[in-house]
Assembly symmetry: C2
Homo-oligomer: 358 residues x 2
């Protein structure tokens, strides 16, 4: 069987912020070669749109390129991305047509998978308790052997590992989360509240601030675009200082957070989105780092996969009891992928950004 599949591709390597014109849509045909090859064709239902992908679309020489650590996106080819799909052509007896699978697929209508080589890069979703899209966000994800692939877009376990294992919270800690309405930030803030911390988030619009305070239970939140001086803003929201900073943005906000940290403060560096499109790097006051004995720790999910069962059990329970909310921002149709991606860097998304393909 052969299917026609449209896919999003990169026209040129990106410098600075991405533009829709950096992308184009192409079409190809996918064909299952033989049953011996143990191939599947998956029709993608949802694909994930994540900031980390930008760093692989840059030239190798870019100082904000991640391509020295992972594969660079190739011009004209399909762009790999996490997705949830349905098996439509099945050449592997462990699956059957109609199975829901989550894995590392692509910004494309259909993905052809050689299950012998891709073993472990995807798995079947057995339960129908939660919407399939949750497996790209709040319930994402563990798939064995993803070490070689992108694990950065996996919101739920990233938030869990980053908050509980890197930040090492204590009840009553004052916690600051930047990009707090983003895919990881909103979950970190909700975990921190459940754990008994005081949580303030920053976001880029008044609607997002409203969401954080009124729907997600943050103690407070502010619109960073309305603040002229981040240092004063943090002093206002944290009169007793910050114990934990979960950093998704880098830049000036990291400097201001360090200036407002308490003794033995902990900073988990999860992302630096403000620096991905901008050359202005954070230049923190290292004298503060010394005198306040601050620890700044970069982390990647791949080192915390052993937490998967504990994460799933805890998070599913909270979802069942309505103690935690899944915040998703879903656009429709393959054609909307470039604008959805560009929007990440304008702060257009609220929560996990997905594109629904069917």
């Amino acid at each position: 069987m052969e299917v026609q599949s449209k896919f999003v591709t990169l026209k040129n390597q990106i410098e600075g912020a991405p533009q829709e014109s950096n992308f184009e849509i192409k079409e190809t045909s996918l064909k299952q070669i033989s049953n011996d090859e143990a191939q599947l064709i998956v029709k993608n239902l949802y694909v994930s749109i994540d900031p980390y992908q930008l760093n692989r679309m840059k030239s190798l020489s870019s100082t904000h390129s991640a391509t020295k650590y992972a594969n660079q996106v190739k011009l004209g080819q399909a762009i790999d991305a996490h997705g949830v799909g349905r098996v439509v052509v099945c050449g592997d007896e462990r699956f059957k047509e109609g199975d829901l699978v989550v894995g590392h697929f692509g910004w494309e209508e259909y993905t052809l998978i050689n299950t012998t080589t891709a073993d472990g890069f995807f798995r079947k979703i057995e339960s129908s308790e939660f919407p399939p899209s949750y497996y790209l966000g709040i319930l994402g994800i563990k798939i064995d052997n993803w070490v070689r692939i992108a694990l950065e877009g996996i919101s739920g376990l990233t938030a869990y590992a980053g908050f509980f294992n890197v930040c090492k919270p204590k009840k009553g800690d004052f916690v600051f989360v930047s990009a707090a309405s983003g895919s990881v930030g909103n979950i970190v803030g909700q975990y921190a509240k459940l754990f008994g911390c005081y949580v303030v988030g920053s976001a880029g619009s008044n609607d997002k601030v409203d969401l954080l305070k009124n729907k997600l239970g943050f103690d407070d939140a502010f619109n960073y675009k309305e603040e002229t001086d981040f240092d004063s803003a943090l002093k206002r929201f944290f009169p007793h200082g910050i114990d934990i900073y979960f950093d998704n943005v880098g830049g000036e906000l990291l400097e201001a957070a360090i200036a407002n940290m308490n003794m033995f403060g902990r900073i988990a560096v999860c992302g630096v989105i403000s620096e991905y499109t901008n050359k202005r790097r954070s230049a923190p006051n290292m004298l503060d780092v010394i005198y306040k004995r601050i620890t700044i720790q970069g982390f990647l999910l791949v080192d915390y996969l052993h937490l998967f069962q504990e994460f799933m059990s805890f998070t599913c329970d909270q979802l069942r009891n309505d103690k935690i909310q899944a915040i998703e921002d879903i656009s429709m149709g393959l054609e909307s992928i470039p604008s959805a991606f560009v929007g990440l860097f304008n702060g257009s998304n609220v929560g996990k950004k997905l594109v629904q393909l069917e």
Copy 2:
């Protein structure tokens, strides 16, 4: 009894690099008021000259000021500093005239101590096995209750705690030490070699490089003033990358170190001397910090005082067996204190900078 005592004082708060003209020498008379007051007068033999003192000589508003954490040096008054001295007037039965004491005294000929309030800020040196000056450097120091006082100038235990407890070394680790001929750096490098690491140091002259390689046993060393590109320099000296960076300088070298760190690299931030006199702060690539899971940790000795016995026992053994060298740089006479201090920021000193007063 009354003594005339000359002391060094600050004429104005310092901006940028210190100048000898920032200081002047004054004289006062010290008098033991009564035996009831339990006072001592100590004649200082050696006083310690340390970079951290600059940060207390700045205005409160300086971004490189430490005065928000500790006492600011007051204009016209004696400048406190670690010292070794001899008791010349004794109003406390726990001491006697002629006793050698080490403690937090000052850049002055004599220090008057109220032993009831200063209890624990100094102690008697009981052993004569090592030169008294060692207690300001390689064997410095634990004195109870120094929490409220400057502990930053205490080289030996700082190097020990910073290397073994903050850097968490493994045998075979590749270790980079900046300001490696400085008071702390030279000891860190020697500990790292004893522990079985590969150690490269940076320093500011060819004589210092020679000292590191030929006297202190560093595997390699380089003169940073002869390098135009720190990133390339570190690539040359660490073709397999850096596992541990013991940072005494901050600035550009910290950026280059982060660019050359290995996965799970650890950075102990002990000092940022390049930034004390310069507004150019380090702006590390946080994407490297994330992807390489680097930990950057500021530390102060005060949190590691429990290591004192283990540190002393280990270090005295190494000194006895000639496995570690005490590197001291001693100027003569109170009048040389301002130039000795200014010289710290020009890189004039080799090892622990002291001024001998008698």
